[in-house]
Amino acid sequence: MNRRHFLKTIGVGASAALAGLPLMALKDMGVRKIRLLHTNDTHSRIDPFPANDPRYPGMGGYARRAALIKEYREADPGLILLDAGDIFQGTPYYNMYGGKPELRMMSKMGYDAAAFGNHEFDNGLDGFANVHPHATFPFLAANYDFSQTILASKVHSHIVLRRNDLIIGVYGLGINPEGLVSRTLYGDTVYTDPIERAREFEVLLKSRHRCDLIICLSHLGYNYRDDRVSDTMVASHTRHTDIIIGGHTHTRLDPPAQIINEKGKTVYIGQAGSGGVYMGCMDVVVAPHSEEMFVESNTTKI
């Protein structure tokens, strides 16, 4: 697909049903839109993949990603930019600099938040604490209790963003580090049930913060054949979470997956492979329930 064409079509796609109506009219009807960009498992891929890489020749790289984000942001200054974790580890840049260049550059790109991936533990809690000041965006993990560690008050459970007349709540979820990360690295971090925390924080964001849109930023993994907690499980066991931006399993979800939640509503799950080769783009429309709109228009006729 032609690049310009892509940027354009993705912009109007989500509101195809409402096409033809002027923007002011949409606003009067309570229709609000927001664009969401997301990455995951970029694994210190600061330089693009080598030109002779069998799968992704010359693809990815921070400088190209930044250029793409800048272009999207020029078209839509209100967009949200999220990363679902495992920013660290994978190239010698991390081994040598401990994640500082990654966090500096992601801050310059204007990331709004990142999930705390299992590889964020790779230089230990001290290693993370050392480079953390270089991130101007928060790390989120509602189900990691860092209170007995050096990361207490450095990693948050959730944030609330206000963009495009919308109140947007984002909460983070991390994977069970046991057996995945050496205990010497995660230390006294306490892992708690992601689904319990998801249900707790989505209610908090809905009732206390009156969020119009609730996003779960997760490093649990998309789906498993066994009973490990995954994004699909979080989706089906929650009531107010609208979107899950995921990582860990390096899954390419194109288009986003759709899972039905406890209330019978659709939850959208996005994940963009790994290595920064792809970036996810979601166009989100928050509109009055279509049935009510239908009823409303009928009433007007009468």
Binding site: A67, Y97, D122, L185, L213, G280
Partner: protein, 257 residues
């Protein structure tokens, strides 16, 4: 204001507000999304500010990666059923692991098993750079000690007998005849079917990677907190400081009859 709230009429207002909150219009969220390739088609130019940040790091990094850590007496490649590279890596990983491991039960590590697929490139004769070791072992696999029952240990040997490629092993010896395993020796001692064995491996294989299902549900699993790549790098530096070249030999530890 507070006065009104505690007033009976104020309470009615409060209830009305709450009721209104409950019946506020239902909103629906709809999403349309796609993945965009981060390539020269979608972003013909790169961001110059970011390029300048990368440049701050790249030059130093290249210096470090091109550093010669030691010298190899000969070329080492992976092989089947054994190979110079298989034996070199498995032997040094076992040696390092034994140095680090502090068993709670005073029982040492019995042997080492890694995987052929984890050796991504060979070691040339002569100078060996840090980047070569990163290419050989790009994964962040860590050393772990897995305690297996005698039954699971036997499954491990049967796995080796059925493997189509040479798995790196150290301190075991066995023969494979028509897909069956014979004459198993651990250290110098024949396999004892009435005791547990401690196997040094990677966290990836201990998690069942490469279909090594015998590692699942072990008697115990202990993480050593050292990456296999770091063990190889440390070995190269130590040998070089001692004025020695690294070397390996084939000794028939796995043979096919």
């Amino acid at each position: 204001m507070f006065k009104y709230l505690i007033h009976p009429i104020g309470n009615i207002f409060l209830i009305l507000i709450l009721l209104w909150g409950c019946s506020s219009p239902q909103y629906e969220v709809r999403v349309e999304g796609a993945l965009v390739a981060v390539d020269s088609l979608h972003a013909p130019e790169t961001d110059q500010l970011i390029e300048s940040v990368i440049a701050e790091y790249r030059e130093d990094l290249e210096k470090v990666m091109n550093e010669v850590l030691g010298y190899s007496a000969h070329r080492m490649e992976r092989g089947t059923p054994e190979g110079l590279l298989n034996n070199f890596v498995a032997d040094l990983v076992l040696y390092k692991g034994r140095n680090i491991y502090q068993p709670a039960d005073d029982k040492p590590i019995d042997f080492c098993l890694l995987n052929y697929g984890g050796l991504r490139t060979g070691i040339p004769e002569g100078p060996v750079t840090r980047s070569r070791i990163f290419e050989l072992m790009p994964f962040e696999n860590e050393m772990v000690v897995v305690t297996l029952t005698p039954e699971k240990t036997m499954e491990l040997f049967e796995y080796l007998a059925g493997a189509t490629v040479g798995m790196p092993v150290s301190d075991i010896q066995l023969q494979i005849e028509n897909g069956a395993v014979r004459n198993i020796r651990i250290g110098e001692v024949p396999f004892e079917p009435d005791r547990n064995y401690k196997v040094l491996t990677s966290d990836y294989l201990a998690g069942g990677g490469d279909n090594m299902t015998f590692f699942m549900e072990p008697v115990s699993l202990e993480l050593l907190g050292v990456k296999i790549r770091d063990a190889i790098i440390a070995h190269l530096i130590e040998e070089n400081q001692a004025g020695r070249q690294i070397q390996s030999k084939l000794d028939g530890r796995i043979s096919i009859e």
